[in-house]
Amino acid sequence: MEQNDTKQQHYESVYRADRWAKRFITAGGYGIIVSILAILLFLVYQSLPLGQNASLKHLLSYPVTDTGNQVLLTGSDSYMEIFYTLDQAGRLNFYHISDGSLVLAEKLPLGEGEKLLSAARGSLGRDVFAAGSDSGRVITAEISMTAVFSDSGRVIVPSLDIEETWTAESAGDSIPNHIEQLAFVQNEDLSRFWAWKDHVGNIHLRIYDADDEETYQHTLQDYFQNLTVTAMTLSHGGDNFIAGTQSGDLFWFKLDDFESPELKDTWKSTQNAISSLQYLLGDQALVIGDNQGAVESWFPVRTPANWLKFTQIHRFESHPAPVTQIYTSSRNRNFLTVDNKGNVKLHYATTGQTELNFRASDFPIQAAGLTPKSNGIIAVDGQRQFTLFQLNDPHPESTFQGLFGKVWYEGYPQPEFVWQSTGGSDEFEPKLSLIPLIFGTLKGTLYAMLFSVPIAIMAAIYVSQFSPHWLARAIKPTVEIMAALPSVVIGFLAGLYFSPLFEEYLMGFLSVFIFLPVVFILAVLIWRMVPEHHRTRLKPGTELALLIPVVSLAIAISIWLGPTIEAVFFGANFQQWIFTNLGVTYETRNSLVVGFALGFAVIPIIFTMAEDALTNVPESLSSASLALGASRWQTVRRVILPAASGGIFAATMLGLGRAVGETMIVLMATGNTPILDLNPFNGFRAMSACIAVEIPEAPVGGTLYRVLFFTALLLFVFTFVINTVSSMIGERLRKKYARF
């Protein structure tokens, strides 16, 4: 009985251990699946907002008090706490956005009965504006809304500074000069540019040069002859002036020389009257709105004759009524178009998309604008109703077309796939095409696989089938050490040591591809002339020792003959030759170097697995083949390779997966140039390297940040697909050939 009890106890403890082991192992297995899913979900979560469309929320509307019938200008501070309106009577009022209460009332210095006819903001970053009156007076002033922090919180203190006031000369008739339309810009050097249309319809230009404090004045009417100018704009740098006419003609003036504006080009956009013109951030793209409601973007494109010509890039969703105003964002390529029926549309110039389309009011909108952070839209309508919308459009550039399609970027001769996420200034247009990155990854992988697959598989065949045991025992651990080499070391050696060396002996290295096979075949032919009984007496493994001088000889011949070949065939300078004849620039860190380096990292993986697969082919099969009179090579080719094909395929795919995901080597050994060119002599930028380079600099939550996460997701999907496909095909091959 007692014995029974102890037996019972013994089995109890065995079962308990079993149960615990089972739980532990199951938990581990599920843990792996859960963590991979978690990574996937995190990547999806981070990149999902890219697909979000712009959205708008109506926050508040109320009538503005103490202002005249005609509001010419409106704007807000960057915290969206106060806004201002400038009316026809010159009253500049500041209000609290939250309740519409008056904060400050200012007045521009106008004469008795004098009315403002036009006003224009002159900078994207600052609230500097100019206003023109019916007596020819132009007042230039700057609004500042300064945030003051105190114990009670943040207070925005508005103020108005009149910068300068001058009066335009009379058109020569008795009526005082009317500033009917006004365009104004104050550039970064604080030089100011005014362009206006007087009541006769003449166009005038006034330039104040801040450097030498000189003022220049021009009348441009001669250029227009009898055409009526209906819209004008100045670029934010002040060096371009565009005027659009009743007939749809556009005139482009360069103002580089303050003393003589130069008419650069004229062109016709639509047949309709141009009703509104505006330069976008970056001073490249021009938005044209006409009196039929069409909205188009144009920018200068270099023609084959090296001549800049304004070209239509996008046509946006049209308005049902004439476009009256265009407001640009100070942060990106967003802009608002407003028609005279109260419709407002938000567009994004890079992608050509109209993101929002809404009715801000039932009455014509007199003044509107994007808030300084582009997170809100304000508008004042004909009933002096103020409306504020909250705008949520964090990633306008990341449409599907923007990420995967060709996009016509400013300054490019045609639509292209470009990755260039950051530029020198805030005005930079981000170019986030993922195609160059995907292409780069595939290109690096291609060259790595071209180099590594033959070597690794041949080596695996040699080691598993032909080499003597002692040699196999030496080679296998060596290759495993190769696998353990940190990729940063390989990248470092490839990028800093090998690539300059490669460049110096370029022709020599390239000739190796010719001389190695030639010398090798010669060596084999010579070897065959040795009497057979001498040959067979050789110990296996010696062939490797015999090959070393052969390979060394081939390399020596290549290096030695390299310059001669270069001189004879490539005019003594191969790099120059490929540039002039093939249009390819040679980069020191090129795809060949990466192919070698990445291949070096991939070889051990393919070799180890392929060698295993080949060794696992039962000896009985090779014996059967040999006993049937097949030679060693016939046996390998007809029996062993097919039987191991599943394993070799899996090995290659695993190597492929490694090459796709490899980061450090492609980062260090390429120039990281995101170009779409399969040429081996230039570099590429792989997805992995791009993530590594750019994620530290990408603002969290920004478009670049999310696009990089999306790239990571793509990489994840890539490797997932590669692994799945490889295991599926590998399984089929195994079922077909490897049932032993």
Partner: protein, 280 residues
């Protein structure tokens, strides 16, 4: 490893006992395989065959019997030089097939093995179709004609008594056949090379009695056209199918005689002890 001195030794009349005289029971046979002072070493410490002098007659079944590890398979593998694959192994002496030393450097290994076919203990069809298995040998030996290959497939499978069973599924995987069929396919595969000699290394040891019976029938059919050397553990099998039997023990050839005589009236006591089951 054949050196000149040994060549002299074999032909020197001062050591007449070294030249194996034609055994009286083989007097009327044509000798196909002959070994002279054959010593085989897996490595210098493992002396697997000791001074084997054996003559194997044409178009007869010769069985090698003996306890495990006695060297009968090793001896068999000397005839088609399959032992070459073993690293570090070497031999001295001569193996003559049709009077030619197979270890001579002039011999083409592929030709030798085509001529001396082999069936292994464990059936080892290639993971290919039945047809591909049969045509493998002819193809690697340079036969490419489609009709010729087809002809070989049919005749080989017929000779191996497999044709009736597989004629409708020649393009099915060989691995779908039963164990006995697989082994007969291996025999057919060997026959496809049109060899002179077939070596069989315990061809039925892994099979059930019915399959074994079929293999034995096949062997009986084949001996009309082929010289068959079979290694077997199964003494009844040796008794049933062989014309001559050689008994080996610890790497030495103890006795060879007609099967009838070995099983009824062996000369050496050890043979009798083995046959009657006193050890084994």
């Amino acid at each position: 490893m054949v050196n000149i001195q040994e060549d002299i030794a074999v032909t020197t009349p001062t050591e007449p006992q070294e030249i194996p005289a034609a055994k009286p029971f083989l007097a009327n046979e044509r000798i196909v395989i002959e070994t002279q002072r054959l010593d085989f070493y897996y490595n210098p410490e493992a002396h697997a065959l000791k001074n084997i002098n054996i003559q194997i007659p044409d178009k007869k079944v010769t069985a090698f019997i003996g306890p495990s590890g006695c060297g009968k398979s090793t001896l068999l593998r000397c005839f088609n030089r399959m032992n070459d694959l073993i690293a570090g192994a070497y031999l001295t002496g001569k193996v003559l097939i049709d009077g030619e030393d197979v270890y001579d450097s002039k011999i083409r290994l592929e030709e030798l093995r085509k001529n001396v076919g082999m069936v292994f203990q464990k059936s080892n069809p290639f993971p290919m179709t039945i047809r591909e298995n049969v045509t493998f040998g002819p193809k690697v030996n340079g036969i490419t004609g489609k009709d010729e290959l087809e002809e070989i497939v049919v005749s080989s499978l017929k000779q191996a008594d497999l044709w009736r069973e597989v004629k409708d599924r020649l393009d099915a995987s060989a691995l779908d056949l039963s164990g006995g069929q697989q082994q007969r396919l291996c025999i057919a595969r060997t026959l496809a090379n049109k060899p002179e000699i077939i070596l069989m290394d315990e061809p039925a040891s892994a099979l059930d009695p019915i399959s074994t019976g079929k293999i034995e029938e096949t062997i009986n059919e084949l001996k009309k056209d082929y010289t068959i050397v079979i290694v077997t553990h199964n003494m009844q099998q040796a008794a049933r199918i062989s014309d001559y039997t050689a008994f080996m023990m610890l790497g030495e050839m103890v006795e060879m005689d007609s099967t009838k005589r070995i099983f009824t009236n062996p000369t050496v006591k050890m043979t009798e002890d083995y046959i009657t089951g006193r050890f084994g």
